[in-house]
């Protein structure tokens, strides 16, 4: 690395989130931690996990309606199906005695994809933002749902060939909350129009719409989706880790077809 040239690297890290008041006797120890100005000790005593989570990303506390919307989304997404690819990955790892500390990262990495995974949440977020001021009908004209793709637009599509009824019900409930905003309403309008072709709101699209309504950020919504899905992944993986290795099916040779 050249020492003679200045490439613009800062000499100090910066944050708008954490203020650490050092211990009077040890500058490496934190005496008091403030998150966006609020003492963590007070947050622990007076605020919920989801309120504090919102604070981390928005640097302000949510109002009651926002708090409820986030809390309900988190609960709604807390556990994907044990048949979901990320759940299957973490279950395979659990049953095969992978170190317990690896189970969550395995699940989250698997969940990171652009097709039905966390990376799709950002695409869906951006899609909703870009089209919010148009009509759902126009969007559908520009993005024909019958194009044969599982996800004709990011965050919307078919799950196993049909509308995902679980997400549909969750979306309808979230829409009934005071905190539901224009992104979620637009997403639901679009999903309703697409339903005739067998497409609907996917979990990624739903997460994107709510995150957009809460102004949580497009990039941030990727990781938040992973976080929301994390508890179920841990639980499914850990559950399998307590079982013998033969408690999950391993495909027999006759069902493994090699066609070079």
């Amino acid at each position: 690395m050249s020492e003679a040239e200045d490439f613009g690297f800062s000499d100090k890290a910066r944050t708008r989130l954490c203020l650490e008041q050092p211990s009077p006797t040890n500058p490496y120890l934190t005496e008091t931690l403030y998150l966006a100005g609020y003492d963590l000790q007070q947050l622990v005593q007076k605020r919920s996990f989801s309120d504090t989570l919102y604070l981390l990303f928005c640097h302000q506390l949510p109002n009651a309606a926002q708090s409820e919307l986030l809390e309900k989304l988190m609960t709604g997404l807390i556990c994907a199906s044990p048949r979901h690819a990320a759940s299957r990955a973490v279950m395979s790892a659990g049953i095969s005695k992978t170190n317990p500390e690896h189970l969550l990262p395995i699940g989250l990495l698997t969940l990171g994809g652009k097709q039905g995974g966390a990376a799709e949440v950002q695409l869906a977020y951006q899609f909703l933002q870009q089209h919010l001021n148009t009509t759902a009908e126009l969007v559908l004209q520009q993005n024909p749902a019958s194009s044969g793709h599982q996800h004709p637009v990011p965050g919307f599509g078919a799950l196993f060939g049909d509308v995902d009824p679980l997400m549909q019900k969750l979306a309808e409930y979230l829409l009934s909350l005071e905190g539901a905003g224009p992104h979620l309403r637009f997403a639901q309008q679009l999903a309703t129009l697409m339903a005739k072709d067998g497409y609907g709101l996917l979990d990624t699209g739903l997460c994107a719409a709510v995150c957009a309504d809460l102004a949580l950020g497009a990039r941030e919504s990727v990781a938040l989706y992973q976080l929301f899905r994390a508890p179920g992944l841990i639980a499914l993986g850990m559950e399998q880790s307590h079982l013998p290795i033969h408690a999950l099916p391993l495909l027999e040779d006759e069902h493994y077809v090699f066609q070079p």
Binding site: R16, P27, G37, P105, G198
Partner: protein, 274 residues
């Protein structure tokens, strides 16, 4: 639309079956890797890199190309814990994370659009392949560079310049290696040379290893996606080195920061509303 078994026919077909062309383990006997027997055709006959490329792309490359890539991997991964992915390995070492987790975490950190050699190779290959088409269609080097987005007054072209050094020390050795192994310059590399000359002359920015690799691998007939898959662990070795360097050190002792080593720019302390 009402649901019918036709809607989920695809999944019904795949339920309980794996149909694949990548290979098969026949327990106690042999393993097929694509159309090859691992033990009869490949074992002791090809390099690990050739096998790696076969698994990643289905192509059994020549020993020379395998050698080229192996040498290329060598210079994608330095044992220097200032590099971002290596820092991850070092931090993992101070926490005595498992070596696998540490190395995977470092490789994941290098899955970046600005450095690392895997995703950046994909972007650089897209650029050089698309730019070659435009060049063949008649656009000049000046016009191609002018069309690039500008950052800090200079064209931001993937494969040229680096975040931390103007000159890439790996280019000259790669040029020598490419020639020594008998590869001739293809049309992507010839275009890269023209771009490099222009960038150097006008902006003082040379080609970097990502740009060079992109041009070379494009000339070898690989797609950007294939090279992303080939090179996805190319920083692993340096990450592991930095991990092991910190393993015996005390907790949190790698580049420790005091509280006041971080500049706080947010809200000052405020009372929590009821």
């Amino acid at each position: 639309m009402s649901s019918s078994p036709d809607n989920y026919f695809l999944w019904q077909q795949k339920r309980g079956n794996i149909v694949t062309s990548i290979g098969k383990w026949v327990g106690g006997d042999d393993v097929q890797v694509r159309q090859y027997s691992l033990l009869k055709d490949l074992f002791q006959q090809v390099s690990y890199m050739q096998l790696q490329v076969l698994n990643a792309t289905g192509k059994l490359i020549s020993p020379e190309l395998g050698r080229w890539l192996e040498n290329n991997f060598m210079v994608m991964s330095y044992p220097d814990a200032r590099i971002w992915c290596n820092q991850v390995g070092a931090f993992a070492g101070t926490l005595k994370t498992s070596p696998t987790a540490a190395t995977v975490a470092g490789c994941l950190a290098a899955d970046s659009r600005v450095y690392g050699g895997s995703q950046t190779s994909e972007h650089a290959m897209r650029f050089i392949q698309q730019t070659l088409l435009k060049y063949k269609a008649g656009q000049s080097i000046e016009a191609l560079v002018a069309a690039a987005p500008v950052k800090q007054g200079k064209p931001a072209i993937i494969g040229f310049a680096r975040p931390v050094a103007r000159t890439d020390e790996r280019i000259a050795p790669h040029q020598q290696m490419t020639e020594a192994l008998g590869f001739s310059k293809g049309e992507h590399m010839q275009l890269a040379d023209l771009l490099a000359e222009h960038m150097q002359q006008h902006y003082g920015m040379g080609i970097n290893i990502g740009g060079y690799t992109a041009a070379f691998m494009s000339d070898q007939g690989f797609s950007p996606e294939e090279v992303y898959r080939i090179k996805n662990l190319c920083v692993a070795s340096g990450v592991t080195a930095c991990y092991q360097d910190q393993l015996t050190e005390p907790e949190h002792s790698f580049l420790p920061w005091r509280c006041d080593d971080i500049e706080y720019q947010g809200h000052g302390p405020r009372p929590l509303p009821d």
